[in-house]
């Protein structure tokens, strides 16, 4: 019997709020242990949790950006378990009344066809503390860092719609793009601001039963997620072939062994409505306010870029896939640069140079204004493409305007016909063989001659004019 995998994902994403979820402590990782704590997030006696509006807004924006419906009423529950990373014996989460339900994301399936993967629900919860295990002499000790305790999270639970590692990896890529667009979370699996657990079960292909699942945790990159699913599918398939039962439990991905390792039985603690945090009731007006804050998402932006700026589908996708690129692109176009010129120069010149120099749009000195200035000089034939590349390199190095750089370093293109005719005459006289070739129908001889003329002008000649003059003289 042939089997197929049924995969659902549970994704925890840390919201990039300024504070924790129930107190005013900074939400900042990497600080000295237990620096960002207070009586509330350490749950001292007498403290009262204070739900922050920022967490609600960022969680709602995230849910809306993932096409979910915000529920009119949602509430926090206590997920009860005892562990030193939990300062009060329960975690505040939304088990019974989640913030949002019924979302989806589209991915390209393995066959290249679009596939819609559904999201079951999105709820808010607080993160737990971090445990650090060390040795004190020969005694193992466990230290608790409460800086992360109470950091706002959203948990995104998908429907079991995925059938392959490809689906799961593409879903996470699409999710990351959407959320980064929204600007509500960094979504880095590597740094732990996004954690993905996969629930995997097997069934005979063609049936729609849902069998006992196994939960796999601890993947810290999209590639590891794919690898863990591949491993788990083959492990479970082997069990099925051998006639062994699949038991509900949790496994950890071990990147060294490249295998999943049994960790514990799956734990489902009780979830009790919390009597301290008030229920959250949202109005239509509030939802509309949130909708107005929702940025234009990449799918719709790509459509608009195609329509409004005449970009090809490929160009529109390239300019819209990331929010900062799309905003940069529009800032340049709004300064009267031809959209396709902007697209070409951003994709082929600006982004690679920024990558080389390890810069982001927030810290690059090449602002949209300076970059647009450069492209305007190019479009007006004041400089040619070669010169433009060199001016761009100088834009990264100095604060000067592109105009100043062009004048100071002599990049201005020579478009004076008399001057250029002189150069062409010299080139023709010096290269009789090439002239002959051209006249005998060897078309690429023209390219050679143009190159010679450009060289003679030290790269400053207007190549279009050179070509015209050459054509006329031959």
């Amino acid at each position: 019997m042939e089997h197929e995998a049924v995969i659902g994902l549970e994704i925890h994403a840390e919201l990039n709020c300024a504070t924790k979820m129930f107190c005013d402590c900074p939400n900042r990782i990497g600080d000295e242990p237990n620096l960002n704590t207070c009586p509330i997030c350490l749950w001292f006696p007498g403290s009262v949790p204070k739900f922050t509006a920022d967490a609600l807004e960022k969680a709602a924006l995230t849910a809306m950006g993932l096409n979910c419906t915000i529920q009119d009423r949602s509430a926090f529950d206590q997920k009860v378990y005892y562990y030193p990373d939990l300062p009060k014996g329960f975690q505040l989460s939304q088990a019974h009344l989640p913030l949002a339900r019924n979302g989806w994301l589209d991915i390209a399936g393995e066959d290249g066809q679009p596939r819609r993967l559904r999201i079951h629900k999105i709820h808010m919860e607080e993160d737990v503390a971090k445990l650090v295990h060390e040795m004190e002499g020969r005694t193992p000790i466990s230290l608790v860092d409460f800086n992360r305790a109470g950091v706002p999270l959203v948990e995104i639970v998908t429907e079991p719609d995925m059938r392959s590692p490809h689906d799961a990896m593409e879903f996470i890529r699409a999710l990351r793009t959407q959320i980064r667009y929204l600007g509500t979370s960094e979504c880095s699996m590597e740094s732990g601001s996004m954690r993905v657990d996969a629930n995997i079960s097997m069934r005979p292909r063609g049936t729609d039963q849902l069998n006992t699942k196994v939960e796999v945790k601890n993947m810290n990159s999209i590639r590891h997620l794919g690898d863990a699913i591949v491993y788990e599918i083959s492990r479970q398939t082997a069990s099925l072939v051998a006639g062994e039962p699949i038991v509900l439990h949790t496994r950890l991905w071990d990147p060294e062994k490249r295998a999943t390792v049994a960790m514990r039985g799956k734990f489902e603690g009780p979830c009790i409505p919390d009597p301290m945090v008030p229920q959250i009731v949202v109005t239509e007006a509030w939802k509309n306010e949130m909708l107005a804050k929702l940025p234009e998402m990449p799918g719709r932006k790509a459509d608009r870029f195609g329509r409004q700026y005449g970009l090809t589908r490929e160009e529109a996708l390239a300019m819209s896939a990331e929010r900062d690129v799309s905003e940069y692109f529009e800032a340049v176009v709004n300064r009267q640069v031809a959209p396709r010129t902007a697209t070409h120069w951003i994709a082929a010149q600006l982004l690679p140079t920024m990558r080389e120099r390890n810069q982001s749009f927030t810290d690059t000195p090449v602002t949209p204004a300076r970059f647009a200035g450069l492209l305007t000089l190019l479009e007006r034939d004041a400089i040619n493409a070669n010169a433009a590349r060199e001016v761009l390199a100088r834009l990264f190095e100095s604060e000067q305007t592109p105009e100043t750089i062009v004048e100071r370093y002599g990049y201005r293109q020579v478009s004076n016909a008399d001057q250029l005719e002189g150069i062409v005459d010299q080139v023709l006289a010096a290269n009789p063989a090439a002239v002959n070739d051209y006249r005998n129908g060897v078309a690429k001889a023209m390219g050679f001659l143009v190159g010679q003329a450009m060289q003679a002008s030290k790269g400053k000649a207007n190549p279009k004019l050179i070509r015209e003059i050459l054509t006329g003289k031959l």
Partner: protein
């Protein structure tokens, strides 16, 4: 002088910190003394809530109500002895402190009627405000949805004055009721908005002959004073007790989760690993009654969640039913306590609930309740008159208490 009625006495009650806006001589509560429980946070005071779990714990900051009382110039005398985490009244000395005149007023956590019961025992007034009227920030509690700060005083006017200072929005407690909050600046004996007083027939059926006689006598007196008395019925009345027990235990189990010995409070001397540390610390932290309560709560959490959900549904139904009664009458009268009240043994859970059966409905429903002495009496026994009103009718209820106190006993 029996100093052991207090677990802590303020060494300098007339000298407040620099955060005090008014000196005690100037504030509206100048010259008024209050005793609190060690479950209400006063910066620098021990706050162990009567439990080994918090042995040696000193409050880091003032509770919101303490901040306001200090600013109003009240004198905080010290902390009374209390039962463990306020569950039951075993060992509580609040009544003694009041009847000995060592304090004009006392504040205590009212989870099932503690303030009203103690006041009835010593012939004092007590008030339990509506949920959401008084900030709970700084209150070390047990069952958040059931409890609030109760006030005991010999004179109802003192309760009005203290409520005027303590009540009102607090940006550190989001469960406050906001714009619809009751006001206390118009509480006077001339406020006669409560005209029709009802009484439920179901609790009467559980009373002894002497208790019924006292209560009937009390109702007659109220009728002669011009109130209309009406009998009403709430067939599910006996469910208040089960609902309180189930939900109270579950919430207590959750709120005691933080007593794990990791960050503060008692930690066991020796443990093999953290699991062992948890088990031993918690085993040493709680007394028998609290332990039984936490176990009962954990049972519903882990083994019988459905029963807890039913309790929540029944609670909603009870609130609806009692609101329905408030459409017929302005307030409801009960005796505060039954005559059989005794010092419960520390293990007796059912005995504990027996003692509070007449007061806990107000905690389940989150409505205000006031205890008035001198009306529900039989010979030497004063069972106390307890009157409860609709949620947020705190003002009219206190007006009624002032009025009845003026009518004389």
């Amino acid at each position: 002088m029996q100093t052991d009625a207090f677990t802590y006495l303020d060494p300098s009650p007339s000298v407040w910190g620099h955060d005090s806006v008014m000196s005690p001589e100037q504030g509206p509560l100048a010259g008024k003394s209050l005793t609190i429980q060690p479950s209400l946070s006063v910066r620098g005071w021990p706050a162990d809530a009567g439990s080994v779990a918090l042995k040696g714990f000193v409050a880091l900051e003032d509770a919101t109500v303490i901040e306001r009382l200090k600013k109003a110039g009240a004198t905080l005398v010290g902390t009374s002895r209390m039962s463990e985490l306020g569950l039951g009244l075993a060992g509580d000395t609040t009544g003694r402190i009041l009847s000995e005149g060592r304090s004009d007023m006392a504040l205590m956590t009212d989870m099932m009627g503690e303030a009203r019961i103690i006041a009835a025992r010593v012939g004092a007034f007590a008030f339990k405000p509506s949920n959401g009227t008084v900030s709970r920030f700084g209150l070390i509690g047990l069952a958040p949805s059931m409890e609030c700060l109760g006030i005991l005083a010999r004179a109802p006017e003192d309760i009005v004055a203290v409520m005027g200072i303590m009540a009102g929005d607090d940006d550190r407690d989001f469960s406050m009721c906001g714009s619809e909050a009751p006001r206390f600046d118009h509480v006077t004996e001339s406020d006669d908005s409560i005209k029709v007083i009802g009484f439920m027939k179901e609790p009467i059926e559980t009373l002894s002959e002497a208790e019924v006689r006292a209560f009937r006598g009390c109702l007659d007196r109220l009728e002669k004073s011009g109130f209309r008395i009406r009998e009403v019925s709430l067939p599910d009345y006996d469910l208040f007790r089960s609902v309180h027990h189930c939900i109270g235990a579950v919430e207590a189990s959750s709120s005691c989760g933080k007593y794990d010995g990791v960050r503060y409070g008692h930690r066991t001397a020796a443990a093999k690993n953290w699991n062992d540390m948890y088990l031993k610390t918690r085993a040493e932290s709680f007394g028998a009654l609290v332990k039984a309560y936490l176990f009962q709560g954990a049972y519903f959490q882990f083994e019988n969640y459905g029963a807890f959900e039913n309790a929540c549904r029944i609670r909603a139904r009870l609130v609806k039913a009692i609101n329905g009664l408030f459409a017929e009458v302005d307030a409801l009268a009960f005796p505060t306590r039954s005559g059989s009240i005794r010092e419960v043994s520390a293990e007796d859970m059912e005995g504990l609930y027996d003692d509070f059966v007449l007061t806990l409905p107000a905690n389940v429903a989150g409505v205000p309740a006031v205890q008035i002495p001198g009306y529900c009496t039989d010979g030497n026994a004063d069972y106390g008159l307890q009157i409860i009103g609709p949620r947020l009718s705190d003002g009219p209820l206190l007006s009624l208490a002032v009025r009845l106190s003026k009518m004389g006993t």
